[in-house]
């Protein structure tokens, strides 16, 4: 409540300077000759515009904070609804204070500044595989569905109008069709806002969301066609005009897509060369994508499609090319812009509603619009799903259809479009505006409020957020190949065949052109998951270290003993987590560097390596700094203490691994040994196994020297031990990931044996 009053105050404050400004702007004519030097002057006009804009943004953001203070409320009410209500409230205050409708959501601001970030965010983070896998369904709903909605709504309203229930309206058939076309489209902003909080399963989400994005082409075409039809007058609408309309649909949609793809290509190409301008790297993403939006807008093509496909197509290459930091920057900036824009949109929707000048009330019209859009949406969805289910592998069930119908929200796009109408041509603009506002409010607030309980009640399959598992990726890859092989064998062209062809083409030509050479090698889904898992482990290891106060627990004598004891007398234990504890100790410094080293391995003699290495540090907390010495070769020679640490560490390792050796692991050791010693100096970081053991072969010859020195310093057994350590450590990192982080002091002897025995196969 305090916040609200504060905001009210702010608003009052805003009005005050506005009033002041009026007065002071009047005065210069009187005071053209100031009497004396003014030490400080109040220059409101000077800053008025940016100041007001910033204040509104601040208000919107503060509102968000306020909402999230109350957890109970945000769980039930979607944020968008709250923002609209707030907007109405604020608009009411301004109205009451000043009797002027202050800020309204002008279509220009909306289309140029508020919508692009949201759509770009959607496109850039679009799960491509899912999207293209369901593209057929999405297209059907987007195109046919929207046309159906528009036509039926418009025609029905016209039909009812003719019966006279609505009273007298200065509109013809075309006006109604125009209105139908702008109210028919499902809105991406609203869908995103609501579905984000609902977490339905991904197929459902992508279909509704994809529909909301792709229907823009249809909306744009229908809107423009009917608007010009209204302008030229119903008498002049001939067959050719209609044909032109149909043709324009294809031109607009395909053209928009091509513009997007072109700019995506441009962006990927540019990102390939930005290695030396890392600071502004993220900027390119935004600038070029925005250009694609504006270019399409300039050519009167579908701008939303352009920027969506720009995001979709450039994802892969841009993410591969730009540095980790830039990638993070892009991600967060995009999310911030999108979220901010969304907040502002909803708030302004609320504010714009408080504008009595535009309010025209026609009960029948408004009510019927609401009824028609809901009913026709349901019918449309059911019909289309029935058709689709003949062709789809994964059938869309009744529950999915319910959610799809119910999730067809209208939002700001419809409002902006209706605000764009020319009152001279469309005489009933105010009625349309009022109706649109009510429809938008209804769908966002009411449907947004009730969709969550509905989803729960219907037990819709939720999205499962699972940890990425290597097995899944591996098998998934195997699947893809198997399925495309079966398709080849059975002589059919199916999804897998197409996808296979595309990825071959991509690998051979596109990636070579658009991806940096260093990135080409390392881009692989399976490797990425491997990567991620290692990193996660590293982070959790450090977090655990922090929890315990220091990372020195590795060499605490107690654990030392315990470990040895366990190895010699295997004890049955049920605590799996203790294995991870044990292995963490060993694997600690090991896997911390995994990612850095993976990176290094991939790009030989690339300063990118060091950057990546430093990047890794950014992901981990401060303690890692202290710990750095343990694996970094730089410090090892200079810092006595750390050297000592390392010795102790290795001694401990050796002890443990010797006991390991006593089981059946000894067989393969000699072979490995040879391999290790044959390793070239920092040439190829072949053995990721060896590397993570704290030996960072790098291009620095000094370090290599120390590497060799290390070889001689410790015994051969040490090498093996380290190697095996890493083997074990690395592999079981996943185990550690899987098990809970309960660090007890009872390492599981049984489990260790399991591991030992397992590794006899190595």
């Amino acid at each position: 409540m305090r916040e609200v009053s504060r905001m009210g105050f702010l608003l009052g404050l805003m009005d005050l300077p506005a009033a002041l400004g009026e007065r002071s702007s009047g005065s210069p004519t009187n005071n053209s000759h100031p009497q004396s030097f003014a030490i400080v002057s109040f220059r409101w006009n000077h800053v008025k515009d940016p100041y007001v804009i910033t204040l509104w943004i601040l208000v919107a953001s503060l509102a968000k904070i306020v909402f999230h203070l109350s957890h109970k409320v945000t769980r039930v009410v979607p944020e968008s609804a709250l923002l609209i209500v707030l907007g109405v409230f604020l608009g009411g205050i301004v109205w009451a204070a000043d009797h002027i409708a202050s800020f309204t959501l002008t279509p220009e601001v909306f289309f140029f500044y508020l919508l692009p970030p949201i759509v770009l965010d959607a496109g850039y983070f679009m799960p491509n595989r899912l999207f293209f896998g369901n593209l057929g369904s999405i297209l059907l709903y987007a195109v046919i569905g929207t046309i159906w909605n528009a036509a039926t709504t418009g025609l029905s309203l016209y039909g009812v109008y003719r019966t006279g229930i609505m009273g007298h309206l200065d509109s013809g058939l075309l006006d109604f069709l125009l209105f139908g076309s702008l109210i028919a489209a499902v809105d991406p902003v609203a869908v995103l806002a609501v579905f984000e909080e609902v977490h339905v399963n991904e197929v459902l989400f992508i279909i509704v969301f994809g529909e909301s994005l792709l229907n823009d082409a249809v909306t744009v075409v229908l809107y423009n066609v009917f608007e010009s039809f209204v302008a030229i007058g119903p008498e002049n609408v001939t067959g050719t005009e209609c044909v032109k309309g149909i043709v324009s649909f294809f031109v607009v949609s395909l053209g928009g897509t091509l513009v997007g793809i072109f700019f995506a290509f441009l962006l990927s190409l540019v990102s390939r060369f930005t290695k030396h301008v890392r600071i502004i790297e993220p900027g390119f993403v935004f600038i070029i994508s925005y250009l694609s939006y504006l270019t399409a807008e300039m050519l009167s093509l579908s701008a939303i499609l352009a920027i969506t496909f720009c995001g979709i197509c450039c994802q892969k290459y841009v993410k591969a090319n730009i540095s980790e930091q830039s990638s993070t920057t892009v991600r967060y900036t995009m999310k911030m812009l999108a979220s901010g824009a969304e907040t502002i949109i909803f708030m302004f929707l609320g504010i714009s509603a408080v504008n009595p000048e535009i309010w025209t009330w026609n009960t029948a019209f408004i009510l019927l619009t609401l009824v028609f859009i809901s009913v026709y949406r349901v019918i449309g969805v059911v019909l289309q799903t029935w058709i689709l289910n003949h062709y789809r592998m994964v059938q869309l069930e009744i529950i999915d259809q319910v959610v799809m119908s119910y999730g067809g929200l209208r939002g700001a796009v419809a409002f902006a479009l209706v605000a764009l109408l020319d009152t001279k041509k469309v005489k009933e603009k105010n009625l349309f505006v009022s109706t649109t506002i009510i429809v938008v409010f209804f769908t966002v607030i009411f449907q947004g409020l009730t969709i969550k309980p509905l989803v729960q009640w219907l037990k819709v399959k939720k999205s499962e957020h699972r940890e990425p598992k290597l097995n899944e990726k591996l098998h998934g890859r195997a699947f893809d190949h198997i399925l495309s092989a079966i398709e080849d064998i059975s002589g059919q062209i199916g999804h897998n065949y197409l996808r296979d062809k595309w990825s071959n083409f991509d690998r051979k030509f596109l990636s070579k052109l658009l991806m940096r050479r260093s990135a080409q090698k390392s881009r692989d889904q399976i490797l990425n998951v491997f990567h991620e898992l290692n990193l996660k482990d590293a982070i959790s290891y450090v977090a655990e270290g922090e929890r315990r106060g220091s990372l020195a627990f590795i060499r605490s004598p107690s654990t030392d003993n315990m470990v040895n004891v366990d190895f010699s007398t295997p004890r049955p234990s049920t605590v799996e987590s203790s294995v991870s504890y044990l292995l963490r100790e060993k694997a600690g410094p090991v896997c911390l560097d995994m990612q850095a080293l993976e990176q290094r391995r991939k790009s030989i003699r690339d300063t990118e390596d060091t950057v990546a290495h430093h990047t890794l540090q950014q992901y981990l907390y401060k303690p890692r700094q202290e710990h750095k010495h343990l694996y970094s070769r730089h410090e090892i020679m200079h810092n006595e203490d750390e050297k000592q640490d390392k010795e102790i560490f290795h001694r401990t390792m050796r002890k443990r691994l010797e006991s390991f050796k006593s089981t059946k692991l000894g067989i393969n050791h000699p072979k490995k040994l040879n391999k290790i010693h044959k390793r070239e100096r920092g040439q190829k970081r072949r053995n990721s196994n060896v590397i993570p053991n704290g030996k960072i072969p790098s291009e620095n010859p000094v370090q290599d020297y120390t590497l060799k020195e290390k070889d001689s310093e410790f015994s051969e057994a040490e090498e093996n031990n380290d190697y095996e350590t890493l083997h074990l450590g690395k592999g079981v990192d996943f185990l550690a990931n899987v098990t809970k982080q309960n660090f007890t002091d009872n390492p599981a002897g049984k489990n260790i044996n399991c591991m030992q025995n397992f590794f006899t196969q190595i």
Binding site: K469, S490, N504, P570, R601, S688, K730, C754
Partner: protein, 214 residues
């Protein structure tokens, strides 16, 4: 449809056994004839004539799977020399999409069959267990398309995946047992959360198949 193999009553029996519709069988039969050059059986070499298959990194394994006696349900081990149309259909039936009218039990057994097919693909030595070495072999093949990958990382990945799977079943092995590899039950466990029946299928259209010309 003029081949002696596809006389209506036989076809009906086939349809029942494998679950395909008669149009699908007809179509697959046409394809079979193409592949076998109008003979009654197909041999391994006949698969070489499919041009697109060449780019597939695990083509050998897949072709192998066609001749695997376990998949053909003829024997617990071994490779057949050649397969006839019935066998061809049997293998293809593993990839049939699920139907809406299947009940839980059938769905479950269908699922198991698909997974068994997969399992046999990994388990090359017929011992019913996927060992680390076999896993590595599969991985090698899978990633052979990416020439930049180094052997060590492949090995690391294989081990990691193996351990992930092993963690699902660690509780069952006693303290002194040697953990050999993944058995079929463990394999099932790994796949428990994932809807394999929706992922592992190929659309067998009833429309004219697009023949690969060669």
């Amino acid at each position: 449809m003029g081949s002696a193999q596809s006389v209506p009553p036989e076809m009906r029996a086939l349809a029942e056994r494998t679950g395909f519709t008669s149009e699908q069988i007809e179509q697959l039969h046409r394809r079979f004839k193409q592949l076998s050059h109008n003979r009654k059986t197909i041999r391994k070499e006949d698969f070489d004539t499919i041009p697109d298959l060449e780019f597939n990194p695990i083509r050998a394994r897949i072709v192998h799977a066609f001749f695997d006696k376990r998949n053909l349900r003829k024997a617990p081990a071994g490779l057949a020399e050649e397969i006839n149309f019935e066998d061809f259909l049997t293998i293809m039936s593993y990839f049939r999409p699920i139907e809406m009218d299947m009940d839980e039990e059938r769905l479950e057994s269908f699922r198991k069959e698909k997974l068994k097919f997969l399992f046999h693909m990994y388990d090359a030595d017929y011992d019913g267990i996927i060992t680390l070495q076999e896993y590595k072999n599969v991985l090698d093949e899978l990633m052979s398309g990416n020439p930049h990958l180094e052997k060590e990382s492949l090995r690391a990945i294989a081990e990691g995946a193996m351990l992930e799977a092993a963690s699902a079943c660690m509780a069952r092995t006693g303290p002194d047992e040697v953990y050999e590899g993944i058995t079929f039950e463990d394999f099932l466990k790994v796949w428990k959360g994932i809807d394999i029946e929706t992922k592992m299928h190929v659309r067998f259209l009833t429309m004219e198949a697009i023949a690969h010309c060669y």
